[in-house]
Amino acid sequence: MSMGSDMYRQQILDHYKNPRNYGDLDDPTFSHVGENPMCGDEIKVDVLLEDDGETIEYAAFSGEGCAISQASASMLTDELQGMTLDELDDLDRDDVIDLLGVDISPMRVKCAVLVEMVAQDGAAIHQGEKTSIEKTTTE
């Protein structure tokens, strides 16, 4: 098991320093926040659906935290564009880690998956599959 070496490859640092899809949407279909108490990461995800109510037209995030959580949010929001809510729901933590393209040390996995959990919880609440919660948390 790798214990964290190599986590900070160029791609991660690039997404951290120049996050894609950063900011708030004017008129999101749904919006949800979450936190990772370990690093103090806080992320809000805004999602705009297409008229079919199923396909993601655009996703954005805001908040702050460590490089892993920020890069992960930047990359995942890119990836979400064009995805259906079912496909979002099918994502698991390995998908996110694959997306990051580096070995995430065990203690940092929570940082990596925060954005995915927030997006999934937001979608589930929007679809009425989950009762509304104020905040998603990784712990």
Binding site: M3, G4, L13, C39, G65, C66, A67, S105
Partner: protein, 415 residues
């Protein structure tokens, strides 16, 4: 001070007692263990004390007649005397309760005394730099008893504001619970002055010695505190053990905390009377191997000399502060060198403490990122997290250099 304690000690010889320090981590990096405020490493003789106990003596204590039980009982009971002496408690075992950690010591007093004695209008005084184990415990017990909690503020350099302390501690104060040494700022608090203030107002004072007992010579009677708690795992001892000093008269009067075997005298279906001190506060089969090993750790520290350990650590933290202050992208929390214990918390501009710690780990450097169980203090400091390097008797200036190199690497990566 004896001539022995005036001399520095040979760090390389000290390191030989700690086999873990030779470990390689990651891709063959040599370990630089700078996370001693979280937990210290354990010298061979303490590990051996435990193994020897299990291989030669292991038995339940207090009431056994057979040979092993007699040996175990005597060793376990004497361990209390040795720890009492180690922190200057002249009452011996009667003033030294073994707990599983500092946190349990605080909860013991908060439950056994606080829950029974606090009420509306009473005040518990803490500081802004309290560890969660004190802050959350008193906050919750106060909530349950309708008492109030007040916090002594810190100044810009992380010292207690003693003027504010004099404002806050008053006639309604029933307990002042304050950390002896801050695990985040390195501040050494004036416990004796706070004890005087507390006692002027007929309040008790509880000092949290988790970061003091491992690093400096502590005398609870000179400090004039009513309660004092510490943890074994931060002072070269095992996990799962800590000590709680309490003044004999208070411990005699106080209700017990946990109930069970060992802490009773006579039990009937309808009522129970309590055993003598300190057993009244140690319910169930106690931390036997841990207690014996903790006494070994105390002996070890005493033989090396707490004054020498203190001096060694101050040297390291001064050197670390010097090196870190070379860079203006590093923010350092806490008082200046000379006033602080052997740890330093800081942040590197633009790099989250957790990322910094991950990069350090790639260099073999073990530091701790996060809130160090002082979230409210971090709110005061205006940051969610910090990186903390904390030193102990086996650390070296070379390790500080490796730390600074690793910070430089992070600066390059994120720059």
């Amino acid at each position: 001070m004896s001539s022995q304690t005036a001399e520095p000690f040979d760090v390389e010889r000290v390191r030989e007692e700690f086999p873990i320090l030779d470990r390689e981590v990651g891709d063959g990096q040599r370990l630089a263990y700078l996370d001693n405020a979280a937990t210290s490493q354990t010298p061979d003789r303490v590990i051996d004390a435990m193994s020897d106990y299990y291989r030669g003596t292991n038995a339940n204590v207090h009431r056994g007649i057979h040979h092993l039980s007699q040996e175990a009982s005597i060793a376990y009971e004497e361990a209390h005397d040795r720890l009492a002496e180690f922190v200057g408690a002249s009452g011996g075992r009667e003033e030294m309760i073994f707990t599983k950690n500092t946190t349990e010591g605080l909860n013991l007093v908060a439950y056994a005394w606080g829950l029974n004695e606090l009420g509306e209008g009473d005040e518990v005084v803490l500081t802004e730099m309290e560890h969660h184990s004190s802050l959350v415990t008193w906050q919750q017990i106060a909530k349950r008893t309708d008492a109030d909690v007040r916090y002594i503020e810190i100044d810009d350099e992380g010292r207690l504001d003693m003027d504010h302390a004099r404002d806050v501690i008053g006639p309604d104060t029933e307990m002042v619970s304050v950390t002896h040494v801050s695990n985040t700022l390195g501040t050494i608090n004036p416990i004796g002055d706070l004890a005087d203030l507390a006692h002027e107002h007929d309040s008790y004072i509880f000092a949290d010695g988790a970061q003091a007992v491992p690093h400096q010579s502590v005398d609870v009677e000179a400090l004039d505190v009513d309660f004092y708690a510490f943890s074994g795992h931060k002072m070269c001892g095992p996990t799962g053990i800590g000590g709680l000093y309490g003044r004999k008269a208070i411990l005699e009067a106080m209700e017990p905390f946990m109930y069970g075997g060992g802490m009773v005298r006579k039990v009937e279906f309808e009522e129970t009377t309590w055993a003598d001190l300190p057993w009244k506060y140690e319910a169930g089969t106690p931390l036997i191997a841990e207690g014996i090993a903790l006494a070994e750790a105390a002996d070890y520290l005493k033989e090396i000399g707490l004054d020498r350990i203190d001096r060694h650590e101050r040297g390291l933290v001064e050197y670390a502060l010097d090196r870190l202050q070379e860079f203006d992208d590093i923010e350092i929390y806490g008082p200046p060198a000379g006033e602080r214990a052997g740890l330093v918390s800081f942040n590197l501009d633009g790099v989250h403490a957790h990322d910094l710690a991950s990069i350090m780990n790639d260099h073999g450097v073990a530091i701790r990122p996060g809130d160090h169980c002082t979230q409210p203090l971090h709110d005061v400091l205006g940051t969610a997290a910090s990186a903390r390097a904390s030193f102990y008797l086996y650390n070296t200036k070379d390790e500080v250099d490796v730390l600074v190199d690793a910070i430089d690497d992070a600066r390059q990566l994120f720059g």
